[in-house]
């Protein structure tokens, strides 16, 4: 079976008045059927911009997808999302591809009821009439665990709490039974007990619907219980890609090692200092000419300052962009 999504060498830049921001610098990955892929990175690492590029949601100008491919496989065959005309892409979004954004406060339309926002995609993509759409929308609200779905159908977003709004976002995302859902920090704005509710709902739906998912987050704790495979991004590049168990037990890239060491752990009583990664991420207006992590790396050597390391296998199913990991000859 072919993967559901293949992204190859994606490059996205922002052409601002005072310079070019190199947001995504050659990102490649694949999403397998039924898989949950987590994309982890700190602010400015390009994780959201990569996904927005694939969905065609970046305003252009200033943003421009400079190169790359995003091959999406569906029943109708393979298409390159980056080359799709506007109208076809609109049909794709909310139809075959669902998405959930971070802030449910600003990503729902404040002047439309929750019901109108769900039925909108049902009538558009599935061609349901208003009665059918209403029935399905109420069902969907019930599925995502909203109490009194009949009543909430007519509620406006401001009448719902953050957790409830995120449930509505999820209902919209899965309304047309998509084959792929992209979730961009869907629980970051929520409290930890509400996050646990949303994550458990999400896992349920994933099991029931068998949907393939990309989950963007900065929370390495959350990823551990959620993902099948993890992509670690830094400065617009993929630093490491590995199955979830492998990444936590056997991290290869010094950046991943540092990130894991920087996390405090609830499961240990041991008192230790956190590993801190000195310095800060590089300025994205300067094009990458060597390893972008070299400034902050503990294992840096001459070659790291001379070329950009490619993402290569270090083990089976496990890739890293690092010269030090491959040994000096590699």
């Amino acid at each position: 079976m072919p993967p559901i999504l293949e992204v190859k060498n994606l490059v996205t830049k922002f052409h601002a008045i005072d310079g070019v921001v190199n947001a995504v610098n050659g990102v490649s990955f694949t999403l397998e059927e039924g898989e949950t892929l987590a994309i982890v990175g700190e602010s400015g690492s390009g994780k959201s911009v990569s996904m927005m590029s694939i969905l065609g949601l970046l305003p252009s100008p200033p943003a421009k997808v400079e190169s790359g491919q995003a091959i999406f496989h569906s029943e109708k065959g393979a298409v390159d999302l980056l080359k799709l005309p506007y109208e076809e892409m609109s049909n794709m979004r909310g139809g075959r591809i669902g998405f959930i954004f971070q802030d449910p406060g600003t990503s729902l339309n404040p002047i439309l009821t929750v019901g109108e926002q769900i039925t909108e995609s049902l009538t558009r993509h599935l061609g349901l009439d208003s009665q059918q759409a209403r029935r399905r929308a109420v069902d969907l609200l019930a599925v995502v665990g909203i109490p009194d779905p009949e009543l909430r159908f007519s509620a406006y977003p401001f009448q719902l709490s953050g957790g409830m709004r995120q449930r509505v976002m999820i209902a919209i995302a899965v309304a047309c039974s998509p084959s792929m859902v992209i979730a961009d920090e869907p629980t970051t704005a929520l409290d930890v007990t509400i996050q646990a509710q949303i994550v458990s709902l999400f896992k349920d739906l994933r099991k029931k619907m068998g949907v393939s998912t990309i989950w963007i987050t900065h929370d390495l704790g959350l990823v551990a219980g959620l993902a099948d495979r993890v992509l670690v991004m830094y400065a617009g590049k993929v630093m490491e890609s590995a199955p979830v168990d492998d990444l936590y037990e056997n991290p290869q890239h010094p950046y991943t090692v540092g990130l894991l060491g920087a996390l405090p752990r609830l499961d240990t009583d041991e008192e230790r200092r956190l590993v801190s990664i000195e310095g800060a991420p590089p300025d994205s207006t300067i094009p990458i000419q060597h390893c972008p992590f070299a400034w902050r790396c503990t294992r840096v050597f001459e070659r790291c300052w001379q070329e950009v390391p490619a993402l290569l296998d270090v083990e089976k199913n496990h890739q890293a962009s690092c010269f030090a990991v491959r040994g000096r000859g590699g």
Binding site: D191, H218, G225, R273, L274
Partner: protein, 339 residues
């Protein structure tokens, strides 16, 4: 009781009145903090956790008298802050300081970093001239910033560096106590670790006590000696850092700790979560009896009727739960391992 605590908070409440009704003739009372008591020893870190709106930040501000408490008492080093006159309080403020959450909003963009750090010393008339400049240099070095940066402005710094500037400003007057209100929430993981390590080093070096307010339980466990858990304006449980996370007694603490993701995939797959139903009620209209009862998985009749007392259930372990003793006897805690 050990030595006299540096901070003693007794039954602190802070209510906010929101005008409502016709021409604002009636008021809605928001009980942001509703009867909170705790101590902090010199050189100790008390962590304070809870979800948004539980009153943890208001508590921090009310302790420092940035919000005038509605009732209750706060003692600092034996002196009752709540009874002091304005000028007396102002003089005492050199001994307690605050670090705020947002390193972007809490530094004046038109002041140089040197001026920001020197300001408390100038306001309190502690230093001037060369002495002041030397102290600024010393403070910048103390928080790991290059003293040559003193003439730069806040916008030239990253979030982590701004938080260092804020810590340097708080430390300038050599306080005994700092309230850190979500000091790392706005920062990335790798930068969080830098700031937390700095706070710990400074405590070892200077013996300063912290009230560390945060919603990240793992980080609170990491940095604190003792931890208080707040829910809807009340402290529901308070104990040593390992005790409270390994043997939580209050059902809210249990569900809170079980909801925190742990960066270990194998452990995560095995974990049993206690997932709470619903969301926290509004502090403007809190439930009767125990404020947690509508969401509590083990609530009984009494929980609806009476508010539980906050009491010491085991040495050093305080909780406000009617069923605390049954909880311990049944070893519910052991039967449902949190991790």
């Amino acid at each position: 009781m050990e030595s006299t605590p540096l901070i003693r908070v007794q039954d602190l409440t802070k209510h906010f009145y929101i005008p409502s009704g016709f021409f604002g003739r009636s008021n809605i009372v928001v009980k942001a903090v509703d009867g909170v008591s705790f101590n902090i020893q010199a050189g100790e870190t008390l962590g304070m956790v809870g979800e948004s709106g539980c009153g943890k930040s208001t508590t921090g501000r009310a302790v420092l008298q940035l919000h005038k408490p509605t009732s209750g008492k706060v003692f600092f080093d034996g002196r009752e802050l709540t009874a002091l006159r304005h000028e007396e309080l102002r003089l005492l403020r050199t001994r307690f300081q605050m670090v705020f959450q947002d390193p972007y909003a809490s530094l004046n963009p038109r002041h140089s970093v040197g001026a920001i750090i020197a300001e408390p010393l100038v306001i309190h008339g502690i230093m001037s001239g060369n002495e002041l400049q030397d102290r600024v240099t010393e403070l910048l070095e103390l928080v790991g910033l290059n003293p040559a940066y003193r003439n730069r402005f806040p916008h030239e710094f990253s979030g982590g560096q701004r938080q260092r500037i804020m810590i340097a400003r708080a430390l300038s007057v050599k306080p005994d106590f700092i309230v850190c209100d979500e000091p790392i929430s706005a920062l990335d993981v790798s930068i969080q670790a830098q700031v937390v390590n700095l706070l710990q080093e400074l405590q070892e070096k200077l013996g300063v006590a912290y009230l560390f307010i945060a919603h990240d339980l793992s980080m609170v466990k990491h940095i604190s000696h003792r931890v208080a858990v707040m829910y809807l304006g009340k402290v529901v449980e308070l104990a040593g850092r390992n005790e409270i996370f390994d043997n939580p007694i209050h059902p809210y603490t249990q569900s809170l700790t079980s909801a925190v993701p742990i960066p270990n995939p194998k452990l995560e797959r095995r974990r049993q979560r206690i997932i709470l139903k619903g969301e926290p009620p509004s502090p403007a209209n809190p439930p009767s009896g125990c404020v947690f009862h509508p969401r509590c998985p083990i609530a009984e009749k009494i929980c609806k009727m009476e508010a539980p007392e906050f009491s010491e259930i085991q040495p050093g372990h305080f909780t406000a739960c009617h069923l605390a003793h049954t909880q311990i006897e049944n070893k519910i805690v052991k039967d449902a391992p949190i991790y």
